[in-house]
């Protein structure tokens, strides 16, 4: 695509998005604080948004951007509910390690 005469390739955006997504996945798998895990999930969602907008520009179709708006909204709602659940847990116990929340064993 051309932007002021220079040539940007869609693939660069997509690869960046892939890297961000993978980094987010690493964070979810490795970190222990439940809040940080939620943040990493948000990171993954952002990466997906980038992909959507890239393709929207590539194909000249606005649907990608509209979908991105929906994605942002849903991410917000999901963050709110997730945090509310965590707050509920934090009311009764001080959780530092998500491995402590393992009562659903078996």
């Amino acid at each position: 695509m051309t932007l002021g005469g220079s040539h940007l390739d869609a693939s660069w955006f997509l690869i960046l998005s892939a890297i961000l997504f993978t980094l987010g996945a690493v964070g979810v798998l490795v970190r222990r604080n439940p809040l940080v895990i939620l943040i990493c999930i948000e990171l993954m969602l952002n990466a997906v948004n980038l992909t959507l907008v890239t393709f929207s520009r590539q194909l000249g179709n606005l649907e990608g951007q509209l979908f991105t708006l929906m994605s942002i909204t849903v991410a917000a709602a999901e963050a709110v509910v997730g945090l509310a659940i965590l707050v509920d847990i934090f009311h009764t116990r001080d959780v530092e390690d998500v491995d402590e929340l393992s009562e659903m064993k078996g």
């Binding site: 892939a18 987010g24 798998l29 490795v30 849903v74």
Partner: protein
């Protein structure tokens, strides 16, 4: 020049992402995520998505991240301590994540990108065009999304209330 902007924004994003997953203190993770979001906003501008850029900054970086900050400030610990790992967790994670990256690269590698379709850039991604799409063709998802927000709000209020002790 666009390439330069892209490279700077991309490096900012990657640095922020690495920061999110590495910092021991949750506050610093949140702030790193804000950096990532701003970088992504710049990238959206590069892709002629003005309205999405604004929404990203105002809603995502502005509201959602502030919410996270409040929760961490009120409830979160100051830092995370290293404890005994789950068995195999780190090894398997590395394997899977690496595999994921490779696979995605492979999927993207063989794609022949053509020139982007000719679009009228003066109207692409503007508030007006987004509004037209959102309120006509995609009215239904729009309304559903607002319902979803309502439900989320009610749920959050209910879930996070302090329980009255019955004893």
């Amino acid at each position: 020049m666009a390439i330069a902007v892209f490279i700077i924004a991309a490096l900012m994003a990657i640095a922020g992402a690495v920061g999110v997953i590495s910092f021991r203190e949750p506050i610093r993770s949140v702030l790193s995520l804000v950096v990532v979001m701003i970088a992504l906003g710049i990238l959206f501008l590069l892709l002629s998505a003005q309205f999405v850029f604004v929404a990203q900054i105002i809603v995502y970086a502005g509201a959602v991240m502030v919410l996270f900050l409040f929760v961490i400030a009120l409830f979160g610990p100051a830092r995370e301590f290293a404890r005994a790992n789950l068995r195999f967790q780190s090894w398997l994670s590395a394997v899977f994540v690496f595999a994921l990256l490779v696979l995605i690269w492979m999927m993207l590698a063989g794609v022949q990108y053509r020139q982007p379709d000719k679009t009228d850039l003066s109207t692409f991604g503007t508030v007006q065009s987004i509004a037209v799409g959102l309120f006509t063709t995609y009215l239904y998802p729009f309304e559903l999304t607002s319902l979803l927000l309502l439900v989320a709000a009610i749920g959050a209020i209910y879930l996070s209330r302090k329980k009255v002790d019955d004893k």
